[in-house]
């Protein structure tokens, strides 16, 4: 193992790790937004919205994220949508993970006992009020852990944007493997950084989960 080389190149990886973190954070925010909208659509009273939600989930979970990214980044200009690689990466990954989050959020909401809705409606709350004051606060607690699983997958998923040349961790590893022919060393550095990001995120989510529980 070439420790000297690893010491020489690791600053490039640290810089790249920041890009991976930025990608992860922005993608999480967009994913949560899409997931919330998607869940609302899937549970709407209107058939049109329910269908849009179902198609969104089915299409985005049924095709590879890499292809979705390519359609957006390489195909976008053909329909007048010119994005730089980083923005395309965030939008592509965010909308993709949003489809998975839709199901997570919907799952947490339907897990809340029906009696809660009935009781809230009986005391005179509207449908929106019931959702806002009774169902969502309870469902939010249930969804932290499964959303954490989505976010864990999303962080590893950010590696895909290497394929559209965003200079993040995997792209940097790939570039240095090409120039040094030391794949194992480059894997160790970038792998360690991914593990740190994922471990820290996992701890954060576990903390949030503990905080959110009533008892």
């Amino acid at each position: 193992m070439d420790i000297d080389l690893m010491l020489r190149v690791y600053p490039f990886f640290i810089e790249a790790a920041w890009v991976t973190i930025q990608l992860s954070v922005l993608t999480t925010v967009l994913g949560l937004a899409c997931g919330t909208l998607g869940a609302m659509a899937r549970m709407s009273r209107l058939l049109v919205f329910r269908m849009i939600g179902a198609v969104y989930v089915s299409v985005f979970r049924g095709t590879p994220a890499l292809i979705q990214l390519f359609i957006l980044y390489f195909g976008g200009p053909q329909i007048g949508l010119q994005l730089d690689a980083f923005t395309a990466g965030v939008i592509g990954l965010g909308v993709n993970i949003g489809a998975y989050m839709t199901e997570t959020i919907r799952g947490a909401i339907i897990a809340i006992d029906k009696g809660q809705t009935e009781a809230a409606r009986t005391v005179g709350m509207s449908r929106v009020q019931t959702m806002r004051y009774v169902i969502l606060p309870q469902a939010a607690r249930l969804m932290i852990r499964p959303l954490g699983v989505n976010i864990n997958a999303l962080i590893k998923g950010t590696a895909l944007v290497a394929a559209i040349s965003v200079i993040e961790l995997t792209y940097t590893a790939q570039r240095f493997i090409g120039s040094t022919y030391k794949p194992f060393e480059m894997f160790l550095i970038s792998g360690a950084l991914y593990m740190i990001i994922i471990y820290a995120t996992g701890r954060g989510i576990a903390w949030l989960d503990r905080k959110a529980q009533i008892v």
């Binding site: 049924g62 292809i67 053909q78 329909i79 895909l160 995997t170 794949p183 593990m195």
Partner: protein
């Protein structure tokens, strides 16, 4: 530049060939990840610690890093130690090992959930520990874990697109080939997405059938 889907017909053959390779690589990786998952699960639960601990480290590393990075490691890393595998084989090993680790986690839980009485009964009638595992415990554990493994296999299909990056000429790379000739990325990537979606629907249908049969068998 506007959209023009009439560029597609001359490349239908190329795309279908790519789809066949995608199915082949998914099937080969699925088989590797299934049996690899069983072996990994047994190692993680029953091997002596000198084997178990390095294995835990390996599993931990594979679950905490992106598949794309692992594919680079396997494809270029094997060359570094003098093994020059064709891209297809490297792709199958990479996808297979990655999903074997995930399957192994499922199978471990499932093995532990098999009633202890099963092992005791098997030992009482004279089976050795490894016989009891192989013939009594593992078959039951595997049966229970088939539905979630099915979900992993459907994820594997979609992740198989990644091996285009190391040069396996499956569906994604075939689309890229057509794009190289026509400069029509939107049309061909959408076409590839449609083909993936169809294969995905097919796999979901198979999964539902298998689940029904398991339910009926129980």
């Amino acid at each position: 530049m506007s959209l023009d889907f009439t560029v597609i017909p001359p490349f239908i053959g190329v795309i279908l060939m790519g789809a066949l390779w995608t199915i082949a690589i998914t099937a080969a990786s699925a088989v590797l990840s299934f049996f690899g998952g069983i072996v990994f699960a047994v190692v993680a639960l029953y091997a002596p610690w000198v084997i178990r601990l390095p294995f835990r480290a390996f599993a931990w590393l594979f679950m905490g890093t992106p598949l794309l990075l692992q594919l680079f490691l396997i494809y270029f890393g094997l060359v570094q130690i003098g093994i020059d595998l064709p891209a297809f084989a490297a792709g199958v090993i990479g996808l297979g090992l990655h999903f074997a680790v995930y399957n192994s986690e499922l199978i471990q839980t499932s093995i532990l959930a098999v009633d202890k009485g099963q092992m005791e009964a098997a030992r009482t009638i004279g089976l050795s520990r490894s016989q009891a595992l192989r013939k009594v415990v593992i078959p039951q554990a595997v049966r229970d874990v088939i539905p979630p493994i099915g979900n992993n296999m459907i994820a594997l299909l979609k992740d198989s697109a990644l091996v285009s990056v190391i040069g396996v000429s499956e569906l994604t790379l075939s689309a890229q080939l057509a794009i190289g000739r026509t400069y029509r990325p939107f049309e061909f990537y959408v076409l590839a997405a449609v083909v993936y979606y169809i294969i995905n629907l097919g796999m979901e249908a198979v999964q539902r059938r298998i689940e029904r049969r398991i339910k009926a068998a129980r």
